[in-house]
C-alpha cells in the first residue's frame, strides 16, 4: 500500500504525459497521427465527389456501425436495430425541422429540431434495448431485427408522420454564421468532428467504470450480479449510449441526403450496418470505420470493377455477401484481425530469423 502511494507522489510532468499515453495508447502510434492529419487536410486532396460520397459517407456509416460495435464488442449484444435508431433520428429531424412536406414538418429551426431528434431517438433506442434485454444472447439478434423490420413496415404504412413509402423530401440543413453547413467542405468537417467525438467517447468510456462493467457483463453476467451490479440496468444503459451515437449518425445522414424514406431503414440496410462492423472488426472502435470505408468503396466502384472483369455489374450484393462470408469464416475480428494475424506472423518470422532474442 505504501509503495503504491509513494509512486503517486512522485508524479511529475513527464510521468503525467506517460500516464496520458497509457490511458490513450492510440496517441503513441505514428500511424494514428498520420491518419488524423490526412483526414484533416482531406478537402485539399479530394474533390467534392470523393469528399462527400466516399469520406463523409464512410464517417456517417462508420458512426452508426460504431454504436453496434460498442454494444457487440463491449456488451456482447449484437443489435440489428442501430440503423433503425439512426433512421428514427433522421425522420425526427425531418418531422420537427423544415422540409418540402409542409403538412408533416413542424418547421422548427435546426438547433431545436436536432436536439429533439437526438433525445427522441435515444429514448427509442433505449426502449428497444429494454425489450431486447428481456432475453439473452442469440435472441438479441432476433428481437432487434424484428424491431427494425417493424419500424420499416410502419414507416411504409404511416402517412401522417412518416410520409409513407415516399418519405420526406428536401429537408432543410443548418445554415448559420454565413456558412451553408451542407456545402461539401463544411459538411465534411462536421461529419469528421462528430465521428471523431463518437470514436473518442467510445474509446474513453471503454476504460471507465461504465465501460469496464459492460465488458464484465459480456464476459460473465452472473458473476457481475454477484459483484453487486444490476446487469440489466447496465445493458439498457449501454443501449442508451449506443442509441445516442447512432442518432448522431442518423442526423448526419439526413443532412447528407436531405431526404429520408423507408428504403433508408430497410432490413437490408440494418444488416449492412452489421456487415460493416463485422468486416471492419468488432473488438475496437476503429473497426467500424475501416469496415465502412471498404463497404463504401465496394458499393461505389464494384459496378465498374465487375464490368471490367466481364461480369454483370449488378452483382454487387453477391460480392458483399461473399466478402462477408469470407471474413466470418477466416477472422473472428474482421480485417483488423487479419491484419494483426499477418503482422504477428511476420514478427514471428523475423524473430526466428533473428535467433529468437527478446522475451516471450
Amino acid at each position: 500500500m505504501s509503495l503504491v502511494q509513494g509512486a503517486h507522489q512522485e508524479t511529475s510532468q513527464p510521468a503525467k504525459v506517460r500516464a496520458v499515453l497509457l490511458a490513450w495508447p492510440e496517441f503513441n502510434k505514428p500511424a494514428v497521427w498520420l491518419v488524423a492529419v490526412i483526414l484533416l487536410i482531406m478537402p485539399f486532396i479530394a474533390n467534392g465527389f470523393f469528399l462527400i460520397e466516399i469520406f463523409a459517407t464512410t464517417l456517417i456509416l462508420g458512426t452508426v456501425a460504431l454504436s453496434l460495435m460498442f454494444l457487440a464488442g463491449y456488451g456482447g449484444m449484437v443489435s440489428l436495430m442501430q440503423l433503425t435508431v439512426a433512421g428514427f433520428a433522421a425522420y425526427m429531424v425531418a418531422v420537427f425541422g423544415m422540409s418540402a412536406n409542409t403538412n408533416i414538418s413542424l418547421g422548427w429551426p435546426w438547433w431545436l429540431a436536432t436536439p429533439m431528434a437526438l433525445i427522441l431517438a435515444t429514448a427509442f433506442g433505449t426502449l428497444g434495448g429494454a425489450l431486447a434485454v428481456r432475453t439473452e444472447g442469440i435472441y438479441t439478434i432476433m428481437i432487434t431485427l424484428a424491431i427494425g423490420a417493424a419500424f420499416y413496415y410502419f414507416t411504409n404504412q404511416n402517412w401522417a408522420i412518416f410520409g409513407g413509402h415516399t418519405g420526406i423530401n428536401t429537408i432543410a440543413t443548418p445554415r448559420f454564421w454565413g456558412i451553408d453547413w451542407r456545402s461539401d467542405i463544411p459538411f465534411y468537417y462536421v461529419t469528421l468532428g462528430v465521428a471523431a467525438f463518437c470514436y473518442f467517447a467510445v474509446q474513453y468510456v471503454s476504460r471507465a467504470p461504465f465501460g469496464l462493467a459492460l465488458q464484465g457483463v459480456r464476459d460473465n453476467p452472473r458473476r457481475m450480479a454477484a459483484l453487486g451490479f444490476n446487469v440489466n440496468a447496465h445493458r439498457v444503459a449501454a443501449y442508451a449510449f449506443a442509441a445516442f451515437i447512432a442518432a448522431l449518425g442518423g442526423v448526419l445522414q439526413v443532412w447528407n441526403y436531405r431526404q429520408i424514406s423507408p428504403g433508408s431503414v430497410s432490413v437490408g440496410a440494418c444488416i449492412d450496418i452489421l456487415i460493416i462492423a463485422v468486416v471492419g472488426g468488432i473488438t475496437r472502435p476503429v473497426g467500424p470505420f475501416i469496415g465502412a470505408f471498404i463497404f463504401v468503396i465496394l458499393r461505389t466502384f464494384a459496378l465498374d470493377l465487375l464490368v471490367k472483369f466481364g461480369l454483370d455489374g449488378n452483382r454487387f450484393r453477391l460480392l458483399i455477401g461473399l466478402g462477408f462470408l469470407a471474413i466470418v469464416f477466416w477472422s473472428s475480428d474482421g480485417v483488423i484481425g487479419l491484419w494483426e494475424r499477418w503482422r504477428r506472423g511476420a514478427a514471428a518470422a523475423d524473430k526466428r530469423a533473428g535467433g529468437g532474442h527478446g522475451h516471450g
Partner: protein
C-alpha cells in the same frame, strides 16, 4: 475502505445468516428440502456432503442466483428472500464459484476493480478513474493481499489455474464483506497453494464470517469452527468439526463413499 458500510448498521439481529425451511425445486426434482441453518456473525462453518447433496444450490439460493421455491432467507436480520443478487451483495454478502467465474477478457486489475466498484457508488460512471482514486488504491491493496501483484496487468485468460483461484477470492473480498460463501476454493490447487489458501482464510478479519464448501477435510476442518453435513438436499448433521469427523453415520455416508 468502503462507503457503503454505515447503511447496514441499522440492522441489528443475532444471526448473520438465517435460512428457514428453504426448499428449491427443479421441475419435479427437489435440490433442497426444508433446509434450516443459522450462522452467527463472524462464525466460520463448513458445509460437507457428497455431490448432489445440494451444497452449491444452497449457495445459489443465498446469493439469489436462483431464488428458493419456498422458505425465507435473512441476512443480518433483513429478509432478503426476494432480493435480486446485486442487492444482497451490496449488503455485504459475497461468494466465490466452484468453477472460476471471472472476466477472461479483462486484466487482473480490471477484474478486481470491477469487484470494488460493484459494491460502491459510481457503477455507471462514464469517467475514467484518476490515479489517486480511492478505489484504485483498494484494488491495488486487494491484489497484493492475494499475491497477484506480479501479474496484475495480464489478461485473466492467460493466468494459471491457481492464480485464477486466488483472483476468485480477491473478488469476494472487495468492499466491506460481512459474510462470504466459498464454493470449493481449494479445487485443483497444489499443496503449496492450499497452504496459501489456508493463510488467506485464517487471516481474514474476525468479524467476517463464512461458509465454505470443501471436499478436502484437511483444509476444511482447519479453517472452521462448526460443520453442517448435507445429504440429498437436507441438513443431515450439525456439530463441531471433531464430532462430525467422529460420527459413524457421517463416515459411512461421506468419508466412505462420496469422497473424491
Amino acid at each position: 475502505m468502503d462507503n457503503a458500510a454505515p447503511r447496514f448498521s441499522a440492522v441489528g439481529a443475532g444471526a448473520a445468516l438465517e435460512l428457514r425451511g428453504v426448499t428449491r425445486l427443479f421441475g419435479a426434482l427437489a435440490a433442497l428440502t426444508d433446509v434450516t441453518i443459522t450462522v452467527r456473525p463472524g462464525e466460520r462453518r463448513a458445509v460437507l456432503g457428497s455431490n448432489g447433496a445440494g451444497k452449491t444450490t444452497l449457495f445459489n439460493c443465498v446469493t439469489g442466483d436462483f431464488p428458493p421455491s419456498s422458505g425465507t432467507i435473512r441476512f443480518f436480520g433483513e429478509d432478503i428472500t426476494d432480493f435480486p443478487p446485486y442487492e444482497r451483495i451490496r449488503r455485504g454478502l459475497r461468494r466465490t464459484y466452484q468453477i472460476s467465474a471471472l472476466f477472461p477478457g479483462l486484466t487482473v486489475r480490471d477484474n478486481v476493480y470491477l469487484a470494488c466498484r460493484g459494491v460502491s457508488r459510481g457503477r455507471f460512471s462514464p469517467l475514467r478513474p484518476g490515479a489517486n482514486d480511492a478505489l484504485m488504491h483498494a484494488t491495488e491493496a486487494l491484489i497484493q493481499a492475494v499475491h497477484l501483484t506480479s501479474v496484475r496487468e495480464q489478461r485473466v485468460a492467460e493466468l494459471a489455474h491457481g492464480q485464477q483461484r486466488q483472483l476468485e477470492i480477491a473478488l469476494a473480498l472487495a468492499g466491506a464483506p460481512r459474510f462470504i460463501l466459498f464454493d470449493e476454493p481449494a479445487a485443483g490447487l497444489s499443496p503449496t497453494e492450499r497452504r496459501e489458501l489456508i493463510d488467506i482464510l485464517t487471516s481474514l478479519p474476525a468479524h467476517i464470517g463464512y461458509i465454505i464448501i470443501e471436499h478436502d477435510m484437511d483444509v476444511a476442518l482447519r479453517v472452521v469452527e462448526s460443520v453442517t453435513m448435507m445429504h440429498n438436499g437436507r441438513v443431515f448433521k450439525e456439530g463441531l468439526p471433531h464430532e462430525i469427523e467422529a460420527d459413524p453415520e457421517v463416515q459411512e455416508l461421506y468419508l466412505g463413499a462420496g469422497h473424491e
